[in-house]
Every structure is written in structure tokens, then in C-alpha cells.
């Protein structure tokens, strides 16, 4: 059986990659995808511990996180579309007006 800490390492790796993506990319779509990576990293942890502790709560929380991810993607992409309509760009560093 694969020890739990292997999953933790994998999760940490995905989390770091996700954070790098969020911090460095300009394209908002890819930033949103990196956010999904981060959320997935969390889920791996939750499910791995759920297995180790034989407690299904971890999986429940994973479900909640997937729910949140869906909500976040929907709202994020909605904002993106609205933004693209007004400014004709998808670059995060060009989102520099608080109103238009």
C-alpha cells in the first residue's frame, strides 16, 4: 500500500505548481485553471487522509471543494466574459481599472 505521505508530496507538488501558475501567468483563463490545480491538491490530501483514518468525512469535504470549484469556475469565467466584452483582452495585468 502506498504510504500516505507520498500522497502528501504529490499534493504539495501540485499546490506549488498551481500557485506558480496563478502568480506568473497573464492569461486569466490559465490562472483560473491553476486555481483548479490548487483545489485538486487539497482534495488529494483530504481523500488520502480519509483512507488512512477510515473516516468518510474527508471525502465529504472533497465533494464540497469540488462544488466550490464549480461555483468558482462559473463565476470566474462569467467575469472573464464580461471583461472580455468590455476591454477585448484576457490579460490579468491589464485589469487595472476599478470601474469602466
Amino acid at each position: 500500500m502506498v504510504p500516505t505521505w507520498h500522497y502528501l508530496v504529490l499534493s504539495a507538488a501540485l499546490l506549488t505548481i498551481g500557485i506558480i501558475g496563478v502568480l506568473t501567468r497573464r492569461n486569466v483563463i490559465i490562472i483560473l485553471m491553476s486555481l483548479e490545480l490548487i483545489l485538486n491538491a487539497v482534495n488529494i490530501n483530504l481523500v488520502a487522509f480519509s483512507r488512512q483514518l477510515a473516516d468518510v468525512s474527508g471525502q465529504i469535504f472533497a465533494i464540497f471543494i469540488i462544488t466550490v470549484a464549480a461555483a468558482e469556475a462559473a463565476v470566474g469565467l462569467g467575469i472573464l466574459i464580461a471583461f472580455f466584452r468590455n476591454r477585448d483582452t484576457v490579460n490579468a495585468d491589464e485589469i487595472d481599472l476599478l470601474k469602466w
Binding site: P3, L8, G18, I19, R25, N40, S57, L77, N91
Partner: protein, 169 residues
Amino acid sequence: MMFAQGSFYVLAAVAVVSALLVITRRNPVHSAIYLIVTLLSVALLYLQLQAEFIAAVQIILYIGGIMVLFLFVIMLVKLDVALRQPPFNQQWWVAGAAALVLAVELVGVIYLGRGTAALPQAPPGSLQPNTELIGRTLYQNYMLPFEIASLLLLVAMVGAVLMARRKAS
């Protein structure tokens, strides 16, 4: 056992490599494809962790829902301009350094917490039948959070529709 071990490492490697590709590809469609690969391998890892339900949800919701939404949006916005611009912003080295610090920190935490590895592993099959267990827990112990989550989805739906809708013309 060998098989389980081996497949974990293969899947983990695939997940990490394609995650790296996600954040480095210039074209968001390619990023999305690699993200799908990552999500699929994570789903298979869930299977290995005896979380069949989560694995199925991951595939249906993440890949069949969220990623399709992503692709849809990518196709709606014109990317020709974005493709010619530099993909990374100017403070990338600051971000890289911060992420490096974070990585070190994470490794440290895992190392410090290695005691948990000594904790007894639950025997296989302890979370079966998976779907029934999740259903029971979800609707008995976590009823309120579940309802809140559905409310959240509703709000998100309304918000997304409102955002994406054109001004009445």
C-alpha cells in the same frame, strides 16, 4: 501490491508533469488538455484510495462540466492577440522565489509530520460500500453544509448568468 505501487508513481508523475505543462503552455486550449490529463490521473488515484464515488464525481463534474465550460469560454473569446503576447508577467521571478519558499516550507512540514506515517493504516475495504457511506454521512452529519453548498451553487449560477449576460440592448 507491486502493481498498486507502480501505478501510483506513474499516475503521480503524469499528474505533476502535465500540471507543469498546464502553467507553461502558451495556448490555453493546450493548457486545458493537460489539465484534463492531470484531473484524470488524480481521478484514478482516488480509485486507488478506494474513493470510487469521488473519482466518478471528479470525472463527471471536473472533466465533463468544468473543463468543458473552460473550453467553451476559450472558444468564445478571441485568443489571437493573447497568443502573440508574452505568456508570463513581469514579476514572475518574485513569484517563483515565493513559490520556492513555499515548496521548501511544504517539504519541511511533511518531514516534520512524518510521525503521521507511523499511524496505523486502515485496513482495505473499511470505506465500503463507498457510495452508501458517503450518502449517509452527507445527508445525516453534513446536512447543513450540504444545503449551504447548494445555496452557493445557486448564487454562483445567478452571478455567472448576470455577469455573462449582455446589457439589454
